[in-house]
């Protein structure tokens, strides 16, 4: 095959993948190199497929350069947890690993999984083994493959939860890379002779052109932001039963400043399939993208661009070809919100779930506020589950009345009893950004709480504290914190400066629109104040902030991703 590939024309990563011997690269040698805390440049691409990102502490960058020391390299490890479900044992193990080998915190990501930050190279393997010991793994949580499969997280909200979370697991399993590289490198499994069988029947030898994201929504909840996924399945419920799923394709939020051809795009609902067809549909969408995605330019490689390039109808035709049958016409559904409903909820089976707000998704002890300790103690005491939500929150789920009491006690004892949180803060998301994300132009997780407090002061003035408003901040335009689906969105331009986007919908079915560019904090507050004042005075009953700013023409609604501008 290599003879026929013109590598010059392709993105560098294509060759790396092809030559990596199914994701082995030179990782073993890189790990053994004692002179650097980094891995070889090529391996930084390959390691992603194993759930590992190389990063360095950007706060120390200049200082260490002067000290003739290499950057303070460390690694981010992202776990694979379809639907975000962890047992109490798994929670405890991650808690232990975070203290022992990472920076002492657990990050709950916007794709419902754990991230460990700050793992040194020398501890990578031990940490990976520790994760696998808890029957979790990290395969394909990054890289050009299908990533962690998302799904609505709350068992107490619906008795149908069980069915969708099982489906999430099935899809995740089905779309996993089949190479044994992971097991050899991290778990010391022996190499088996696989020369006779095809190593990657689905992904082939170059995997996908780019990452691929997949989620399952259970209306009316759109907490997984189904329109941001490359592939979304929307459960269609009739008479309290899931009769099948609408198929949505081509979502994706990554974009680039000053490059209008790289834009966020919402998924199109293209049809309906039965429950038992979902896995096959997922496989075939992946296959179409594998064969038709752009392998020359990684900034044009996501499925959303493939679809816009082919045209939606042509894409559908191709998918139908791959499937061997046509999808049915989509069915009606409606979403009410894309945020989480915080607090206790009792399911039809009598079991309790608590959706606990975790600011910025960062589970840690801060001063007297001992969230991490509380959750650890809870994990030690209860019989239940921990489910991570797409809004970076944690659900302590499937609890008896007694366990519910235990949870409340432990939260109180560690001063994390759910207090009064504003409607704005409840609906906030921030990506990691500085100091570890190499892409960030500005702060996000470390800054958003402060900014929210300042906006809260304004809201208080207008008696809007309880009003639920979706606010999201990312340190760069790549979209991890899904800022383009927020009613108030911020994207970092440079240290202390943000673009402000307004007009996303409360249920996540409309992109927001750039309102003002490169604002300082003071400017942000000055821009928001009059709009909030107007909202307080002129909002219709139950009118959400995002809808209001469109109606009042603060911004024009974006109807098509390619119309989006930074």
């Amino acid at each position: 095959m290599s003879d026929t590939i013109n590598w010059e024309a392709l993105s560098e990563v294509e060759k790396l993948k092809y030559e990596s011997n199914y994701l082995r690269g030179t990782l073993v040698e890189s790990l053994a190199d004692p002179i650097t805390g980094a891995i070889a440049p090529g391996d930084t691409q390959i390691s992603k497929f194993h759930g590992i990102y190389q990063q360095f502490d950007r706060d120390l960058d200049k200082e260490r350069k002067r000290q003739k020391l290499e950057p303070a390299y460390s690694f981010l490890i992202r776990v694979r947890m379809p639907g975000g479900v962890a047992t109490t044992q798994q929670w405890l193990q991650m808690d232990t690993l975070s203290d022992k080998y990472a920076n002492g915190t657990l990050k709950v990501t916007t794709r419902q999984t754990f991230q460990l930050h700050g793992v040194l190279k020398k501890n990578l393997k031990t940490t990976m083994k520790g994760i696998n010991k808890a029957l979790l793994d990290t395969i394909a949580t990054c890289g050009d493959v299908n990533r962690n499969v998302m799904c609505h997280p709350n068992p107490a909200e619906s008795s149908l939860y069980k069915e969708i979370v099982e489906l999430a697991g099935k899809i995740s399993e089905h779309l996993l890379p089949k190479t044994k590289a992971y097991h050899e490198i991290w778990l010391d499994k022996k190499l088996v002779d696989s020369s006779k069988i095809e190593v990657e029947p689905l992904y082939k030898d170059r995997y996908l052109p780019r990452k691929f994201k997949l989620g399952i929504a259970l209306p009316p909840y759109n907490d997984v932001d189904i329109f941001s996924q490359d592939l979304g399945f929307i459960a269609i419920v009739e008479k309290s039963k899931i009769v099948g799923y609408n198929v949505a394709v081509g979502g994706g939020l990554g974009s680039t400043f000053a490059m209008p051809e790289a834009y966020p795009r919402l998924a199109d609902v293209i049809g309906f399939c039965e429950s038992n067809q979902v896995v096959d549909v997922a496989e075939k969408v992946v296959a179409v993208q594998r064969d038709h995605g752009d392998r020359k330019n990684r900034k044009q490689a996501r499925l959303k661009y493939t679809i816009d390039r082919l045209g939606l109808e042509k894409f559908k035709d191709e998918l139908h070809n791959y499937l061997g049958h046509n999808l049915e016409a989509p069915k009606k559904f409606s979403f009410s919100r894309n945020g989480d409903r915080l607090g206790w909820k009792q399911g039809a089976d009598g079991k309790w779930s608590l959706t606990l707000f975790v600011e910025g998704g960062r589970v840690r002890d801060k001063d007297k506020f001992k969230l991490k300790t509380a959750l650890k103690e809870i994990a030690e005491l209860i019989d239940g589950q921990f489910i991570l939500t797409a809004n970076q929150n944690v659900i302590v789920a499937n609890l008896s009345d007694i366990d519910k009491k235990v949870v409340n006690e432990r939260l109180k004892a560690n001063r994390v009893a759910p207090g009064k949180i504003s409607g704005l803060r409840k609906n906030s998301i921030a990506c990691v950004a500085l100091n570890t994300c190499p892409l960030a132009f500005a702060e996000a997780e470390r800054y958003l709480p402060t900014l929210v407090s300042k906006i809260e002061t304004v809201l208080e003035e207008y008696n809007l504290t309880k009003e639920e408003i979706v606010i999201r901040m990312t340190g760069c335009p790549n979209g991890c914190g899904r800022p383009y689906l927020a009613e108030i969105g911020f994207v970092g331009k440079s240290i202390g400066h943000y673009n402000l986007y307004l007009g996303g919908s409360f249920n996540g079915d409309r992109l927001n629109t750039l309102y003002k560019e490169t604002l300082t904090e003071e400017q942000i507050l000055n821009e928001l104040k009059p709009i909030i004042a107007d909202y307080a005075k002129n909002k219709k009953t139950k009118e959400h902030f995002g809808d209001f700013v469109i109606r009042k023409a603060y911004v024009k609604a974006i109807l098509k991703g390619s119309d989006f501008r930074h």
């Binding site: 004692p34 002179i35 200082e63 260490r64 000290q67 020391l69 290499e70 303070a72």
Partner: protein
Amino acid sequence: MSAMYNPLNENQQLALEELTKELSNEGVLWVSGYFQGLLVKEQPSKANQEATLKNAGLTILYGTHTGHSQKIAAQLADATAELGIKSNMGSMEDYKTKQLAKEENLAVIVSTHGEGEPPDMAEDFYTFITGKRVPKLPNLNYAVLALGDKSYKLFCQTGIDVDHALNKSGANELLPVATADVDYEDIAENWIKSVLEKLLAKSGNGQAQTNVNAIKAKLSAKKNYSRKNPFYAEILEKVKITGRDSGKEVYHVELSLEDSGITYQPGDSVGILANNPPNLVESILQKTGFDPGEKILFKNEEVNIQEALSNHVEITVLTREVIKKYIEEIDSQELKSLLEDDEKLESYLYGHDILDLLTDHPHEWQPEKFFQLLRALPPRLYSISSSQEAVEDEVHITVSVVKYQNKGRERQGACSTFLSEQSEMGDKIPIYIDHNPSFKLPEKEDTPIIMVGAGTGVAPYRAFLQQRESGNLKGKSWLVFGDRSFYSDFLYQVEWQKLLKKGYLEKMDVAFSRDQKKKVYVQHKLKENQEELYNWLENGASFYLCGDMKYMAKDVNKTLLEIIQAQGGISEEKAKEYIKKLKKEKRFQVDVY
């Protein structure tokens, strides 16, 4: 050739014999003229005088580790030449002991190391002269200058032993053995002067005294920058190169040598004449109640007490000598018992300074007496971490700051504090180059090198590799570095990475002792790589060791011995010989402190 001693090595001797075997008389005459011509060209004054003088010749032998003895020997040789005395100078290592019986005048300059040990290169001579095979030497006149360090118990022991041995074998003492501490210059000059006087007196030269005085003045006035005549070098860069989490403070310092004409080689050191920490000076003033403005005489120089304490005497460390002198003034049973028990003394000296002594054993000191206790503030030597080939008129050093708590008081090393806290970029500080001939890159420049260094012991290897990179000499270099933690103590990490990438460094192993439960040190890395290490040595590699003397050097030496035994399949005895041979061939060089 010389009847004194044969300076030719075996090969040269053979070559000469080969050449002369078949020469006609005419040929011999021509060759002798040829050689004479060479000599005249190189050293006209010496050669001319040699022909006309009938004085008894002088043989000058030195045994050195850091090069001081060699330097003094060279000064003596120069001075004899000025006076028209024939001399031969050589290292103890190259000296054929059989020659000794034929000598008339012998000057020995030898240093002492560690616990009274001779320098490596002097070991054989020392064993011979103090042994039973030494012949009777009734016709020999001799003088010994012993160099040492008073902070060690057996001060100048090697020189004293050599003096004693010569005396025992019936040789005539020209002057009593002279012993010099680390500030040896004055004593060395006087010793040279005395030796010359004695020699001239023996030869009945009337002008002796005037000549000698003139030469002495010349010696002192030599315009070379030295400890006594330092160059004030501007600090161009001073940066802490240990990371935030490090328990250590190591500075990379770049100094300007612009317009000084100073040159150095990789392996040399920079001597810095530092001030004492101001806090300590202040505390001593308070403790003693001295008037800081009062003038005292220190080493024949009138200075006020404040200045003497700051610039002239050593106060940050305690030595055996200080304790000895202390009890001459005050009657303390406790201090006396210290002097009788080495272990107790060691543990008292460790981490204590003059202020502790004043506190623990109070006494109403008179300034003059007090300053007699103390020795002159010695310069601090730092291995140079740059090559002039690469940095031209700069010199770089790597300084570990000595700072610790003891008895509720922060203790600071004199020089490291001077550099880290009292000096800023742009300041000019007094320095000189301390040449170290026994820590040098191989003469044959593509000889493989194995460099072992812990902590700031890695400094000279930065210089070595800069030199090799400047000469575009790739490969055949292996660095073994050790420190506490990879993350914060990997000194010059980025530079090694680049050298590895470019191929100027072929192989690097690292040992970070505190990064895992079990402590890992450089010797463990040597052991891990023992087969390869042995192969390198067998292929002619030179082995360098730099850093801490007390633990690292000992452990590395032990490990190296074990490796040679195991890999060579030889006995411990043979392995020791192997190492000895390496040292003889200058393929095992050590710079430890």
